[in-house]
């Protein structure tokens, strides 16, 4: 692959991702409205899709206010960290054969590292705001992330063991005959739950919980800095959906009457829809419930999953102990 091609892939992926993240504003509002027997924004443009443009313009023209009591530099960098780390995670995702920005052989580890970095934006944003609700949100974000990061990584180990590689391209190719959701159902469910917690989406939006903490860690943010947190959240949904598709649902694999990219997009949007459905239907658990649920139920479950998967994988390969 030439350098020019790679640059085009980078630009294309960035362009499409940012557009998806912005478009999700509209998708989410419309879908939520439909599930609540409403219509949602349907005035601006065809089916109301230009609401995205209106929202973005509104965000740009809002007063970009930095509170005088805030720690200015950290306050400004915090929203950039979330978008940056999520965008970096997309580097390893194979959208179609040949369309991948960096075909790393440590793909999954890179993804886990980047998603862990994302929590810095919450902690720093909440800390720099110098506001008690923001700090409480940051506190919750940190402990939620520590609780869920552990078995998020462990839930993927089953897939890694079955494939024998951390490379996402290899993982996709290993699913040609059978998707990993069939052989790793527990891993899939736990990764889905951890992914929702990872992106702070409802029902696990403990760090921002409007009804308890106003807006949690981004209570003091306005204008485009708030917009960056917003975009980061939607990019996070897209990232977790893309990871679920790649790891458990065969990535771009599919019957040949559609191109691989189309299969990837269909599966991706199915899971984005699932994320929004989760938001529409489930209530938020209490903070201590969430953490104890993570440590006491999901962690033992995922450890058992790793043990059993490892044993079965060894047995299938005919290794005698």
């Amino acid at each position: 692959m030439t350098t020019t091609q790679q640059i085009w892939i980078v630009i294309g992926v960035l362009f499409v991702l940012l557009n998806i993240a912005a478009g999700l504003i509209w998708v989410e509002r419309r879908l939520l409205a439909l599930w609540q027997d409403r219509l949602g924004p349907n005035r601006a443009g065809p089916l109301g899709i230009l609401i995205v443009l209106a929202d973005t313009l509104k965000l740009f023209f809002k007063e970009d206010w930095i509170p005088p009591f805030a720690d200015k530099w950290i306050f400004v960098t915090a929203p950039a960290i979330v978008v940056g780390s999520v965008l970096l995670s997309f580097v390893i995702i194979p959208f179609a054969p040949g369309i991948v920005v960096a075909d790393l052989n440590i793909g999954i580890i890179f993804f886990l590292a980047m998603s862990s970095l994302g929590v810095y934006s919450i902690v720093l944003g909440g800390w720099a705001s110098n506001n008690k609700y923001a700090l409480l949100g940051a506190l919750r974000g940190a402990s939620q992330m520590i609780a869920y990061e552990v078995f998020m990584g462990l839930s993927l180990m089953g897939v890694v063991m079955l494939t024998g590689s951390f490379n996402l391209g290899d993982i996709v190719m290993a699913q040609q005959h059978l998707w990993y959701v069939v052989t790793q159902p527990v891993g899939f469910i736990i990764f889905l739950i951890a992914g929702v917690a990872e992106t702070h989406r409802l029902p696990f939006d403990i760090p921002e919980a409007e009804s308890e903490l106003i807006a949690g860690y981004h209570a003091e943010y306005s204008g485009m800095k708030f917009g960056m947190f917003f975009i980061g959240e939607y990019l996070g949904i897209t990232l977790i959906s893309a990871m679920i598709v790649t790891l458990f649902f065969g990535g771009w694999l599919g019957p040949s009457f559609l191109p691989p990219l189309a299969w990837f997009a269909i599966k991706l949007f199915f899971f984005i829809g699932l994320f929004i459905l989760l938001r529409a239907s489930l209530p938020r658990p209490r903070y201590d419930q969430l953490v104890s649920y993570g440590w006491k139920i999901l962690l033992p479950l995922v450890l058992a999953n790793v043990l059993i998967t490892g044993a079965v994988a060894l047995w299938l390969r005919g290794v005698r102990l």
Partner: protein, 171 residues
């Protein structure tokens, strides 16, 4: 876990329900005839104004948005010289309609009164007066019998109608 999945499925099924939204400017709201919207001054069946300038509406108004000045014509019949309602203050409570002894002031089911200029919300008598009897067709205050004077029964005089049954709840 299963109850969560069931919840999600039930919420998903709402996709196919009929939506509650009324797409307002294209689709009008179906308002009740007694909806309390814009205030009008009605006329009696002969075409004269019903308002006798008694100030009861202005007194009843909790936000003091009604202003009027009573005057008399050459036969001694009272009518408002000016009658002004400031709709930017009006809370559409309907107390004025309740207070009115002659059914002159009435609230009608029309709420589309948006204006760009606040001053345009101050309605004068010519804006308020409508060429209709409103909710009480056929009612004329001066034709309905009043006090018995010992000469004849109520409602037996010339140009006089039977008295109103004050205990009836019907308008």
């Amino acid at each position: 876990m299963l109850s969560h999945i069931r919840t999600m499925w039930l919420v998903f099924l709402h996709l196919f329900r009929k939506k509650e939204t009324i797409e307002y400017p294209e689709e009008k709201v179906d308002l009740h005839p007694r909806y309390r919207g814009r205030i009008v001054l009605t006329k009696d069946p002969d075409g004269g104004e019903r308002c006798v300038g008694c100030y009861l509406c202005a007194v009843a108004c909790p936000v003091d948005c009604i202003a009027l000045q009573a005057t008399e014509d050459e036969y001694g019949r009272r009518y408002p010289d000016f009658f002004r309602i400031n709709f930017s203050r009006c809370i559409f409570c309907g107390f004025c309609e309740d207070a009115c002894p002659t059914y002159a002031i009435q609230l009608i089911p029309d709420f589309e009164m948006a204006e760009y200029n606040r001053q345009n919300l101050v309605f004068e008598k010519e804006d308020l007066l409508i060429d209709s009897q409103g909710k009480y067709p056929g009612y004329n205050f001066y034709r309905v019998a009043g006090l018995e004077a010992g000469v004849k029964k109520k409602g037996e005089g010339v140009n006089e109608e039977a008295p109103v049954d004050v205990h009836s709840l019907l308008p």
